[in-house]
Symmetry: C2
Subunit: 343 residues, 2 copies
């Protein structure tokens, strides 16, 4: 097996007949050194293509300049955007990033935290898995005084910094939009009920209904486990409701896409027969036919803000007191909820 051998200071030192400390000082441009010695060393280091061993440096200063990121899944466009933002802004500040996916499993999430902590990351950025309904592992991090920031899928109670979207506001916006389109019987398709976003978006949905004097009808709230099969089940159930609802607001775009696809195959016309809206603004939603009304969440921005705040804390630029950053969402009205005068 090939073993890439890295040049070390020791080797430069031997070649030049000086001590390792001198090499170290020369490369840090220390003023104590004779300029000529320094020049020679720097030259030789370049020639030998010396690259410092970050592991050794990290061990010595007890800081790895590495952050850990845990997301439910990388292949989701939204999380990929977050990662992209995190990555870019971490690099800008000289930090590397180790990324893990929990695959929506709490056990995997815990395992990820363990390895990242063992790897001596300086801080963590975590978006919780769907399964995560116990939070001991987070409190353990907290008690061990390991810096971390929660984003998007957060646990509200724990006193650490969080970056979230105004989910209530976004759901309000989209429900309000549907109401303005003269829809009155509006179904909310929720994910598992203990999910943070399920709760928040329901809140916004109910708030908009309340403003229109519509009282909460529990029959209009459907719960899907977010699998394709269950989304299809819900889609069918909705068509069988009597009277049939005017509109459907799905907690996330993928659910709306499944519903839309199922309805299309059943010959139901959107938005003529029923209006439809989602949440997230996945790339898919723009090109599907009809284009899906949704709520845009800037993932890149979220990643950027989360990592910047974490680094500010690490570098002592931000107060240690946890803060909560709430990003606003934007309604993206498209054809799937278009209002027709004659219904």
């Amino acid at each position: 097996m090939k073993r890439g051998h890295q040049i070390t200071m020791k080797e430069i030192a031997k070649k030049l007949g000086v001590s390792v400390s001198t090499i170290s000082r020369a490369l840090k441009d220390s003023p104590e050194l004779h300029p000529e010695t320094k020049r020679k060393i720097v030259e030789m280091a370049k020639e030998m293509n010396y690259q410092p061993n970050l592991l050794a440096q990290s061990l010595r200063i007890s800081r790895s300049k590495t952050l850990g990121v845990i997301v439910p899944e990388i292949t989701s466009h939204f999380f990929a955007s977050c990662i992209s933002g995190i990555q870019d802004y971490a690099n800008k500040r000289g930090y590397n990033v180790m990324i893990c996916q929990s695959n929506e499993s709490i056990d995997q999430e815990k395992a990820n935290i363990r390895t990242l902590v063992s790897s001596q990351v300086d801080g963590l950025l975590i978006s919780l898995s769907r399964e995560t309904n116990k939070f001991d592992h987070l409190y353990e991090l907290y008690n061990r005084e390991i810096n971390f920031v929660l984003f998007d899928r957060v646990h509200e109670e724990i006193p650490v910094s969080k970056v979230t979207f105004n989910d209530v506001g976004g759901a309000y916006q989209v429900t309000h939009h549907l109401l303005e389109g003269n829809n009155r019987r509006i179904v909310y398709v929720s994910g598992p009920e203990d999910l943070y976003i399920s709760k928040k978006r329901k809140e916004g949905y109910l708030k908009a209904l309340a403003e229109y004097g519509i009282e909460n009808d529990p029959l209009l709230i459907k719960i899907s486990d977010l699998t394709l099969e269950d989304n299809v089940r819900v889609a069918r159930e909705i068509t069988e409701m009597d009277p049939r609802p005017d509109a459907v607001f799905c907690m996330i775009d993928p659910v709306a896409v499944d519903v839309l696809t199922e309805w299309k195959s059943m010959g139901i016309k959107i938005p003529e027969d029923m209006a439809l809206a989602g949440f997230t603004n996945n790339p898919t939603s723009a090109v599907i036919e009809p284009p899906l009304t949704t709520v845009a969440q800037p993932g890149y921005e979220m990643g950027k803000l989360a990592v910047t705040h974490l680094l500010d804390q690490l570098d002592g630029l931000a107060s240690e007191d946890p803060i909560s950053i709430v990003l606003e969402t934007t309604l993206v009205p498209r054809k799937s909820s278009q209002h027709f005068q004659v219904k």
Copy 2:
């Protein structure tokens, strides 16, 4: 600033009044130790929630059990899938993964390699940026005997292992499919010409044409720089060609999506007026209207194979001689290329 303090062996040693070496041996379950001592130590370690410092371990054994991954962009669904595969299979074998994106810039790519190497990754998985047309940085890795595997966007000449798709075959499949649909004037929309996949897919396109006795007409090959604007330009130019082509094969799905969107806005019917096909099978392509004929590339599988081979090399399970793994693609015929008897 909070500073998470990790328990070290030294602290356990002090608490138990034994030496650090004894702790180390106990935790490695060394047979030299008295079972009772061992038991006590293991117990105490658990109680104090000891976690080994991977940095120190890595430094000592000169292996970090970490791999570096460089992709052009994380937000692309295809690369996200690759990463997901890499991640899963690396973890299964006890490796962590550091991910970087080059953002299609060769300078960023070089910088990423530098940091990852400095971070002492045991190996690298690289997919080249669009800009990469010089390969010195790869040869440098090669000369320094640092293990790496290229995937998808590879440089053919360098003698390292590569994992690619049968791009020629895939392009042949899709062109053949278009030809079978009675299309004869088929445009190939290529990306920048020095891109690996541009060349390969063109090869497959020409091969299929040749089989049908159609000679290569350079006017039917359009080149886009893959930006939205340029894709739109190409889309328009195609409609102005005289005689108008029967079908268009775009090198990658996003180009086809842009073309399709532009044509729709121009009132051109697909596939009635012109047939259209892409390559990659992005999620978007399935839901766009009309659904886009394309070629499926299993990204997760590619990531899995690439990382497995790299780890096999690292662990001495695979020969050091570079190999080339070629994954087959699958034609996904959809409505955008549907054949109509009466044209």
